[in-house]
Structure formats: C-alpha cells, structure tokens
Symmetry: D2
Subunit: 385 residues, 4 copies
C-alpha cells in the first residue's frame, strides 16, 4: 500500500486554461460569475485546483486565447502561484480564413498562415519553457467531393514536417485525432492510425495524444492506449468523458469503469510515472457546472481511477490469464475496481498536509465569493476569446 501511495504522490495532472473560462455548445454559451478575464486570472484559478488536490501543478495554455505580451512574466506569475506552464495548444480554427481548413486548406496562403501560427507556438514554448506542443486540427470537409482527401494528407504531412523541424532539444509535439466535429464528412486526422502513421514517419519527437472523447461509438480506447505504448508513440491524454459524441463532460463522469481500464493499461504498459513521458491532461467544458469545482472533481476522478489501477494484483491476474481462467482473471480486475479508494486518497492528502476532502475545502475557502466580487467588468474568457 505504501508503494501505491508513493506512486500516487508522483502523479501530475495538467489542467487547461480554457476550462476556467465560459464554454458551451453551438446552441448557447452560458455565462458564469467570477470567470477569469485574462491568462493571469486563469492561472490563479488553476493554482486553486493544485492547492486543494496537490496533483495539478501544470497548466496548459491555448494560443491565441492566452496570448500575452510577456510570456516570461506569465511563467513567473505561474511560479509564484505554485504552478507552471504545461503544453502549448495551437488554435487554427477560429479565423474566417479557416472555413475550408487550416494546414490542409486548398488555398496555399491560408496554409502558410496556419503554419506560421504553429511555428509561433514553438516560439512561445521557447519563451515559457514548455516542452510540449499539442496539435489539434479541425480540418476536414463536410461534403463528398468538396476537396481531395489525399491531397489534404499531403498538405498535412508538409505542415507537420515543417513544425517537426522547428522543434528544439527536449521539445516534442503531440498530434491529436478526432472522429468528427466540426468537420462532418472527412476529418483529416480522424483516428489514431492516421496520427500514428504521420508521427512514425517524422520521428521520436512526434507522438499521439488520446482525447478520450474523440472516438467512434464503441471504440475500445484502452486497446489503443496499450497499442501506442507498445509502439512507444503514446504522448499523453486529453481527458474528459462522454455518453454520445465529444461531449467534453468531466472525466470519469460518464463511464468510470472505462477510465479505470484505461489507467490500468497505462500502468501495465509503463506509461505511468514521470519518466514515461505520458502527459495526463484534462480537456473539458464545464458548460453548466462551476469551473473550479469541476476541475477539482475531475482531478479526483483521475486519481481514484489511478489508485484502483495500481491496486490490481498483477501476479494473480497473470496467473489467471495464463490458466485461461476467464472469470478468475476478470475477478482480479474487478476486485480492484470495486474497492472504495476514497479513504486511501483522503489519507494520502492528509499526509501531504492537504484537506481530506478537496471539494469541501475549496467550498469553505471563500475563493469563489472573492472572484465573484472582484471579477466584474472586463471581458470574460471563453471559447473564441
């Protein structure tokens, strides 16, 4: 059990700056009180999540949403708050120019503009000390025939290659795939196979990131995790959960058993721990629930799934598997899943000088009342801002 606690102490779950801003669906973005109005305020909120959970020291930025004049100053600000800058997320989907795509656009001028943005993101990595660039492309087409599927792959490969060549020592990019949305016929990087094939050609600094909401119905995500780890190509996760499409609910909310199975394959495949290079990042939308508590709950959900995964009795499992004992092997896994790990995690927090119950402690802290009062005027952060 002390091994498990030691492993849990090492965990680092990255929260995204945009989770603290307003978000929504195409139908409506509901505004909430106290929402940050600039990257500095977003970092302050992220620091709260770390303060109460102890395992969320990194914050992903989104460019241009988090553009500032002085990135060194932003990094210092983070440091003073007890957190640091994590992955840089590029955004090539919110200009009118990108109507028909960014790096795969039929128009070379648009492609150039998109590539310039990606290269600028690497500049920001240099300035902030971030080691990871996350690339998600909304590129694709809505109608059969609209554009040439293969030519778009050629254009994609060209852009990825240019970004890859720009990466410095100790830098990498993670290529994200997505089943659909906002493209509704072809998505240019629709599945892990496409992301994998591109990354394989480029080399070790290119890896695949698995967003848990970006798959076709019924897809076995833990298989993909196991496979990518076997190939040395799993760069990290964008965690969230879904019942239908890319719902972006809190991770673990829709199918906690799936999250556990994923974490089990991470641990089993050597993807856990600081040396693995596998980044645990959240990427969610708190459309109707409060933002900071939503992040705290999500961090706790990942922790609980991790604790259960670490509890699996590997020897007993291997023995049952080798014996072809279907029910026995399944029971070993379920035994860990059915364990209530909340007391263990409470104990761990106490040992770290934290409150046993992060949700209650945050609620009592008065932080929300403070930001609700202070953050009046200005423009609230949100998608598209």
């Amino acid at each position: 059990m002390s091994d498990i606690k030691a492993a849990l102490r090492q965990q680092s779950i990255e929260t995204p700056s945009w989770a603290y801003g307003n978000s929504g669906t195409r139908f409506k973005v509901f505004a909430q009180e106290g929402v940050p109005r600039d990257p500095y305020e977003k970092l302050a909120d992220a620091a709260q999540v770390h303060a109460f959970t102890g395992v969320a020291p990194r914050v992903s930025l989104h460019i241009p949403w988090d553009k500032v004049d002085d990135y060194g100053d932003l990094a210092r600000h983070a440091s003073e708050l007890g957190v640091r800058i994590g992955a840089i997320n590029s955004n090539v989907f919110q200009d009118d120019d990108y109507r028909l795509g960014s790096v795969t656009n039929p128009d070379p001028a648009v492609r150039r503009k998109a590539l310039d943005h990606l290269l600028e993101c690497v500049d920001i990595m240099d300035l902030t000390g971030s080691d990871t660039l996350k690339l998600w492309f909304s590129d694709g087409t809505n109608y059969p025939g609209q554009d040439d599927i293969r030519a778009r792959q050629d254009r994609l490969a060209e852009a990825l290659s240019a970004v890859y060549d720009r990466l410095g020592e100790g830098q990498r990019f993670l290529l994200e795939y997505k089943f659909f949305e906002p493209a509704f016929y072809v998505t240019d990087v629709p599945d892990w196979g496409t992301a994998y094939a591109h990354c394989l050609r480029l080399g070790p600094k290119a890896q695949v990131v698995v967003d848990t909401g970006h798959h076709a119905p019924g897809t076995n995500i833990e298989f993909i995790v196991a496979f990518l780890l076997r190939e040395g190509k799993l760069g990290g996760f964008d965690f969230n959960s879904r019942f239908y499409a890319d719902d972006d609910l809190m991770v673990g909310a829709a199918d906690p058993f799936q999250l556990f199975r994923i974490m089990y394959e991470v641990v089993r495949g050597g993807g856990y721990g600081p040396d693995s290079g596998v980044a645990f990042m959240l990427d969610q939308c708190h459309n109707i629930e409060p933002k900071i508590p939503g992040q705290i709950r999500s961090v706790m959900n990942v922790q609980e799934a991790t604790a259960k995964a670490l509890l699996v009795d590997g020897d007993a499992l291997a023995a049952a598997q080798a014996a072809g004992d279907v029910l026995g092997a399944n029971a070993v896994l379920m035994d860990a899943y059915n364990t209530d790990v909340r007391p263990l995690l409470a104990e761990l927090r106490e040992e770290q000088g934290l409150d046993r119950d992060p949700m209650a402690a945050y609620a009592r802290s008065g932080y929300f009342e403070k930001i609700r009062t202070e953050r009046v005027g200005g423009r609230q952060a949100g998608w598209g801002a």
Copy 2:
C-alpha cells in the same frame, strides 16, 4: 408519368428563415457576405428559392430570432414576395435562465417564463395565420443524478398540456425529439416513443415531427415514419442529413438512398399530398456553403427522392413481397432508385415556366451580387441573433 408529374407539382417544401443567416459549430461561426439582417431580408432570400424551384412557397419562422413589431406586415411582405409564413418555431434555449432547462427546469419561475414564450408563439400564429407550432426543447441533463428524470417528464407534460389547451381551431403543434445535444446525459424528449406518448395523451392537435438528424446511429428512420403514419401521428419532417450526429448537412447529401426510402414510406403510408397534413420542412445549417444555393440544392434533393419514390411500381412490389421473393422485391425498389429523374424534373420545371436548372439560373440571376453589395452594415442574422 403524368400522374407522377401531377403529384410532384403539388409538393410544398418549407424553408427555414434561419438557414439564410450565419450558422456554425461550437468552434466557429463563419461569416458570409450578403447575409440577411432582419426577417424581411430572410423572407426575400426564401422567395428566391421558391422562384427558382417552384415548390418552396412556405417559410418557417423562429421566435425570438424573427420577432417583429408588426406580424401582419411581415405576412403581407411574404405574400408580396410570393411566399407565406409556415411553422412557428419556439426557442427556449438561448437565455442564461435556461442553463438547467426550460419547461423541465427545476425552478418553477424558469418554467413559467418558458411556458409564457410558448404561449406567445401561439399568439404569433394567430397574427401570422400560421397553423403549426414546432416545439423543440434542448432540455435535459449532463450528469447522472443532476435532476430527476421522472419529475422532468411531469413538468414537460404540464407545459405541453397548457400549450395544447391554448391552440385554436385549425392549429396544431409538432413535438420534436432529439437523441442528444445540447444535453449530454438525459434529453427529456430523446426519441419518437417519448414524443408519441406525450402526443397521444393530448389528442389530435399534437403530432410528432421527425428531424432526420436526431437519431441514434443506425436507427431505421423509415420504420419510424411508417409506424407514425399508421398511428396517425406523423406531423412532418425537419429535413437535413448527417454522417455522424446532428450534422445538419443538406438533406440527401449524406445518404440519398435513405432519403428515398423515407419518401417511399411517406408515399406508401398516405403521407404525401396536401391533405395528408405531413409538412416537409428543411432544418439545416449551411456553415461553409452559400446559403441560398444550399437551400435550392436541398429542395431539389427532396424533389428527386420524391420522384423516385413515386416511380416505384407498387403492383410489382406487392407481388414480389407476397411471393417472398427477396431479391425481386428489392429489385423493384432499386429500379426506381437507380433511375435518373433529373430529366423528368427539368421537364416539369419547364412546363411550369421555370428554368430547367435552378442552380444555374440562380447563379446567373445576379441576386447574390446584389445582396452582397446592398447588405452592408447592420447585424447579420445568425444563431443567437
């Protein structure tokens, strides 16, 4: 063949005022040139679609997007343009108050506000002469436990009953169901069965509307159409198409064979023709393609599917079905589907004094150049406006 032409001449496909404004996904609404800035300009665009196709004389309104001071004036404007007001679509999803639902909200004050809006829509029916109210509720929950599923049904039933009682002579409402989005756990009217059960209790003025994009993957929509027609509960269609979720692409673009099968069941079940009460409405988003041509193409797609459905040799089909001749019966249906009906429709248009090719005729008309130049300044119509 002259029977088929006569039947096609009767067709009336209703276009939605909001299709002429900007639309998009949660990631981005791309702005287009020449987009209308008020309901009068939307009607002008809709009138173009009718002018070139001859089968789109009705225009659906969306309240509050299409609110005007004088609805009588708006109706007269429509009439002068050669079209008329169709269904009134209510909107109880774009206020911050509706974060947790409208008519199913746990807060009675919000429910009251939502109901008042629905009743106001009936007032607008009275003022415009519209005979149909279309009810779509984005209501639902995102997280298990968030609200009580059954209590929400009780609240829904209460609101529907109040609206039903307010309907006048010759008025009806159509209740729309949707699998998911924007609610991501429970949707309060998620399937045809739910809509049907509520409508059945209320009486003949309540019917179900089938949006072709609102189903779980793999759902056999034509079965639902056949079943609702058998029960006398099919009120109409919101046509569009999809490869994934509620993609809202142009009807017939993703699966023209499915559209044909749906139209076949409409015809077979007595749902075709002015006396059937089945309304053919479009409900789409032209996110990346031009709006008016997108509507013209969609109208033509419905026409083509209808023509093919009318071509099915009913006697041969019935004979093969009765004989248990699987391949023979399928071949009768496919024979109609595989026929190229475009020459027939071109001929029909010519007989009606229209251009054989509505897309080309519209392109030549100069209308787009005109609106692009004239519609400068003001606020473009779009989702949320």
Copy 3:
C-alpha cells in the same frame, strides 16, 4: 442499513434455462463439459445458483427447447430443487418456415403456425403455473423493399391481439424489442416505442420488457426505464451487458455504472419489490466462461448494483436537484456508487445461512466435478436444441 438489507432480502432474480446450455456466435458454439442434456438437468444447475446466492428462486423456460411430456412433473422437480418455473419464453425463429418471419411473415400459413406456437406457450403457462409469457420476435427484413413495413405491423398487431385474448386471470405477456439481429434492415419491434404502442392498445396484461443489450449505441436505457415505469408499462428486464451490439455478456460486466443507474431508476420509480410486477431476469450467453459460475457472478452483479441504488440518499439528492446544484446532486449519486457494498452483501448472506462468497463456495462444492463426470453421452443442450 437494516432497511436496505430487508429490501435486498426480497430480491428475486430469475435465471434462464438456456444459460446452462452451450451457446456461441454464428462463428462457433464452443462445447463445454458437464452441460445439461434436458430441462431437468438445467433446473438442477439453476438450483445451484439459488443455493449459493439465495436470490435466484425462479427459472425461465424456453419453448420448444424445454419441451417435456409432463410439465406438472417438471414443476414438481423444480420445487424439490428449491426453485420454481418463471417466465415462459416463446421461440418462433428456429424453423426453416420462419426464414421470412413468424407472426409477420407474408405467408398466412406460417403466421398461423407461429401463432399456434404462442398459444401453446400459454397452455404451458397453465400447466406450469407460470404467470408470464415473454415474446421476442426475430421478425424483420434484410433488404429495403423486401416486405411491406406497415403490413407487417398489421400482422403483428393481429397476432398479439390473439395471444392477449387467450391470457387467463393473473397472466400477462411481456413484449421484447430489439434494435437489430437477426434482421438487418427492418426489425418489426425495434425499439421501446413500438413495443409500448402495441401494449398500450391491448391493455394492462401487455407490458414491455427491457433487454439491456437491445438498443442503439449510446441509448440512455435508464431513461426508458423511468419513462415506462411512469406509464405503468415496465414488465421486467432481460439483463445482460454489451460493449458493441447484443453481446450477451454477463450483466454488469461491460458497464457497471450503467447497471447502477438503471437500478436506481427502478427503485426511484417504484419498480423494486415483489408488488411492483417488474421481473428481473437474466438473458445471457456464457460462450467462453463456465455456465453456473457465470450465472452466480451475474446474480451478484445485479445484487451489488441494487445495494448501491438503495444506498442513494434520496433526501440529499432531492435537495441538491431542487437547488440546481449540478455537482452536488451528481456527488450524492456517485457517493452511493463508489461505496464498496461487497461487505454488506457478505454479511447479508451470512445472516441467511449462506456462504459469504458464493463463487468460492460453489467452486468448493464439487458440483462441477460431479456433472462433468455424470453428464456423459446424450445431447448437450444449446441454442437450437
């Protein structure tokens, strides 16, 4: 907690006779040792499940698989084993005559044959004292046009009406729906709405049965449960689980959180307890795992989900829901789900004079070794036998 134990003591989970025979996919039925060779041996195996769990006193029969000369004798045999006959399941899908359907077949002679079988099943209810007839129809079509969708509904309605009229005092039928398989285009009862509409017309002796594996991807099953309970039309469950289609895995194996949510709605909607009329039945295929342990594990999975559902703090939940506290309400539900109820159930078993661990106790009992040795020769039971 004593209330919860009392409620759990009342639970009755019915196991199906066919789960003890061999089963498989279209690719292969793997034979296992010790499999029963007649209905008497099936009942003996079912009695083991009850002996070790204490909550499985009823056994569903499948006709003609479980045809015997003397049903009174079979019922007595069950009674001596400590169990009793539960639902009678009709089978109108395994004769060559049913290639194009049974009660919806275009050929009236086949329809008559199928109806006769259904009526014979009611005779067997009379003879065995069973109060429930379960109707599942594999009827449907594979190709568009193959048969007339609406005519098939008419034929279905006619057959259901004849069966309904034949039901005696205290007898009912449950109509099962299924998304697809073995029909691959239209299934004649594809969803709960279809089953509901037919049952509603017939009256109170006709109810809907929910097979948890018979839905389109992503369908919210607990919504259906809540809705049918509100309408008084939920007759029971065919429990199993699935990752993809109708996989027929052990209930709770694929998504234990979903099973919990279903059981929560059952409890919340008044569907729990002997007076509710809601039957908890298993309907699974143990293709690769041993049969009796597979049933014991399944029964335990339902028990655990039930215990968690009973643990939900209803007052706290209602308060959070009324306050619109999304995270708080969700947390109340998750609190129950995350509780490890296995100690509670072990204690309950001990109080009932049972072993705390039914799986281990069965394994130690020597029953399997006994049947493996004794059941040699004869024809093993299985699908199609």
Copy 4:
C-alpha cells in the same frame, strides 16, 4: 466513354466459395435447396456468376472448408469451368481449441496449432497457384482482464512474422481487421491502424484488406481507402454491406452512395486496374436470399458503382476543389452518382457476347432447377462445414 468501357472490361471481382453454401446468424442457419456439397460444386456455381457477368473469373477458397485431396485437380476443374482459384482464406476459429484465441491464445500449444494451419494455407497457395493469403483472426477477449492486451499483440506479431517468412516469390498476405464479433471486449486486430502497423513492420508482402462491414458506426471507409493507397498498403476489399454491425448483406444494398465513394477513392488513388494489386473480393452471407442470384446482383452492384466512379469528371472536380467551391465540387461528384449507368453496362455486356440482363438470363438458364434436382443427399456446405 470508350475509355470507361475499356476500364470496366478489365474489372475482376472475386466471389467466395462459402457464399454458395448455407449461412446464417447465431439464431438460425436456414437451409436452401440446391446448395453445393463440396468445393467442386461451389466452383461450378461460381462459374455461373462469371458466365453471366463476365467479370467474376476468380474464386476465393476457405480452408478447411474447401480442403480436397488433390488441389491440382481442383485448380484444373476451375479452369475447365472458366474460372480460377483466387485468395486462400485461413480459418482458425472453428475448433474448440480456439475458444480463447488462435495465434494470440495464452496457450502456446494452441498458438502452434494455429500457426501450422496458416503455414498449411501457404502450402495450398503453392499447390493452387494462388498468390494471396487472407488472414482474419476472430481472436480477442470478452471480458476486461481476461487476457493481457499487449501480450496478445506480441503473440500476434510473432505468428505474422512466421507466416511472412514462409511466403514465396509473388505471394503476399492480406491482414483483415474487424471492429468486433465474435470477440466482444477486445479484438486483437480491431481497426486499420493495427493491421497497418503490423504490415508496415513486416514489409511489402503484407498488406491490409478492408472488409466494408468491419468498422465502428459512422466510420468514413473511403478515407481509410485513400490513406492506405497513399501508403501503398491497400491489398484489397472484402465487399459486403451493412446497416448495423457486420451484417454481411449484398454489397451496395445498404448504402450504394458509400460504395460509390469508396470506388471513387480507389480510382482516384490508383487502386483500379490489374497492376494496382488491389483485389476486389466479395465476402457476404446470403442468409435468406438465393445464393447465385445474390452473387450476381452483388457483382453488378460493384460494377455500377465502378462505372459511376469512372464517370466523375476529374478536371471539373479538381477545378471546383481548388476554387473552394463547396457546392460545385460536390455537384461534380453527385452528377456521376446520379447518372443511370445500367444502359452503359448492358451495352458493354452485349459487346462481350453476354446477355444485357444477367439476373434474368440466369433465371432463364435452368441452372437452378438442375442443381435443385441433382444435389440431393450428401451434406450441404455451410458455415462450419
């Protein structure tokens, strides 16, 4: 148009020996009259399909279903009938030994047995002159924890490597992936990415085969086709169609527009024509329709989709795509799709000395009456035989 005819004349669509035998679902295999009782009779039926369509000269074999003592004799028999042996399909899923997998089984003895079978299939390639081995593995697991996902990949890689090394000059294998069934939790080769990664490591003699029914709901298959062609890794197709899962209906029956889009990408990506190495194979189940007509119709469906794909005006399409003309580009594609190509194909057949209507000609030929009378006694071929 003469170019198109020339291209169509080159087409070669391979039919599978098992399509002529009985098949079914797990619920029932319906027996049909006149079904072959040995591989010789299967070839005779396949020769009929070629005789009436002129484009089906190759027949896939399935081992052990098509085991014979003298493969040279079988090949000669084929030749006399005017056809020849195509791909050899391995079968490692119908022995009780394979309950927990074949080449990925935890038991090394079972793995050895499975590998021996695969190597035997290469022997049969040598004996029959077949150049293609098709590998489909039903391997996978039903329950989380049942076996180690990664270890199974290691075992798979080992077996594939051994088979690869055994391949002679001019021989290749095609690795088939499948989303699910008969495994219901993990399938060891579940998607194109997995098949691609394994083939890439092995070298040019290993390619991916796309079974059009083996994907998650909503998967864009033509994207996969385009991507694999770009990578030089598309070995061929197993054609069939589906509305739900792996329904194995006649190709083109469920979504003829999808088949057209696939064929368009084949043509556009250089996958059409004898030098492309892309094999067009049928893999279907005629569960309820007659076998030989089912194959003829399927061959015709592929021909029609191909003809439409060849009709696409490439220059007009490229111009519209380059201009970002969404509707225009889509219209170019739809123009080809909406063309009725049946007269063109009838003409082509006439030029080749065939009947314009293969279905009618076969029906008139008396072949079915002949086999119905002659093929009495013996054991009908079918799944598992």
